[in-house]
Amino acid sequence: MWEQDLTDNEIIAQMLQGQRESFSLLVKRYQQQAFKLSLVILHNRADAEDAVSEAFVKAFAALPKCREKTDFKSWFLKITYNCCQDILRKRKKISNQTAYHDLAQGASQENPLQDVVEQEEKREVWAALNSLNLEDRTALVMKYYQNASYQEIADTLKWTPGTVASRLYRAREKLRHMLERGEVNG
């Protein structure tokens, strides 16, 4: 079986038997998701990278406590969320907010005009997303980027699935209003 085909629980089982290197498979599998969640929460690339590495180190140390039935992805994203909160608590306020064009990859050159329009649209979405409160934007990223279930979001944010549904709807409404009225400054 290829290493990539192993499930998270199989990798964890291997690690608990002493194959610590298997952890790099989990890191490779989830680093981008965790990074983007951290980036949306912290607005800063360097802080987001710190939060992700701290989350992986914490997850490694706590792995023996991760029960067989626990879903590694949601368990790990919860740790990432907590690490981001720790960083936020340390710095008290959002500093060095990074603009979207510094964070995004370069646009393709096939249709420059369309690219410019799309980039502008995405920059506005990013700015609107960052105007939401911490929990709302976490919920939005978890749902619409990481495809997490309402239950997983509820576990991370300590909400009920019903609250997740209504908060997601309200967050999207706010986002829509901001985009329609051009109330974004990113």
Binding site: E21, F23, S24, V27, L39, E121, Y144, S149, Y150, P161
Partner: protein
């Protein structure tokens, strides 16, 4: 958005679109209601926009090597402090045994003082041995660290402490 009578609540519509609820009636309603269809389609567009805005963020370079190095570094620190702790514990137990051994011959003590020192000595031996044993078993079961030498030191010192209790009864 103005709703027709019988239109689902937007939160429910969103949950359905997110795949969180299964509702045949809702699916059937969408076939008939243009407003709800329009809303669903705009929600889908927003989903796509959110996804692409995040997707386009420059990815993080692979940090797996860095993470493994950090974990190894942390383990080394942990092992060092554990070693230091066992060393201190072993040394203090050794000094304690020596004091127990020489104390009666240096000072004339009454039988009650000797008995209380002896009891204290027994208790510390038991506590340290039990603690060492539990720690060794747990550490080796979960992490497989080579702690046998430090455990043997504790056991030996406790044994010396126990054997030389004989000095007290002869004092």
């Amino acid at each position: 958005m103005a709703k027709n009578k019988g239109c689902p609540h937007p939160v429910k519509l969103l949950a359905w679109l997110d795949g969180e609820v299964e509702d045949i009636h809702l699916a059937r309603h969408l076939e008939e209601c243009a407003k709800c269809r329009e809303m669903t389609s705009s929600l889908e567009k927003e989903n796509h926009l959110l996804f692409t805005a995040l997707e386009e963020l420059e990815p993080l370079p692979d940090i797996s090597e860095k993470i493994l190095a950090r974990i190894a570094e942390r383990d080394e620190d942990k092992d060092f402090f554990r070693f230091l702790w066992y060393l201190l514990l072993g040394c203090s137990l050794f000094v304690f045994s020596l004091v127990n051994y020489f104390l009666p011959s240096l000072i004339n003590l009454d039988s009650w003082t000797i008995a209380s020192v002896q009891l204290y000595s027994y208790l510390t031996s038991v506590i340290f041995t039990a603690w060492g044993l539990v720690d060794y078993v747990f550490t080796n079961s979960f992490q497989g660290g080579p702690l046998l030498p430090s455990f043997i030191v504790i056991l030996l010192v406790s044994l010396i402490n126990y054997i030389y209790k004989g000095r007290f009864s002869n004092a």
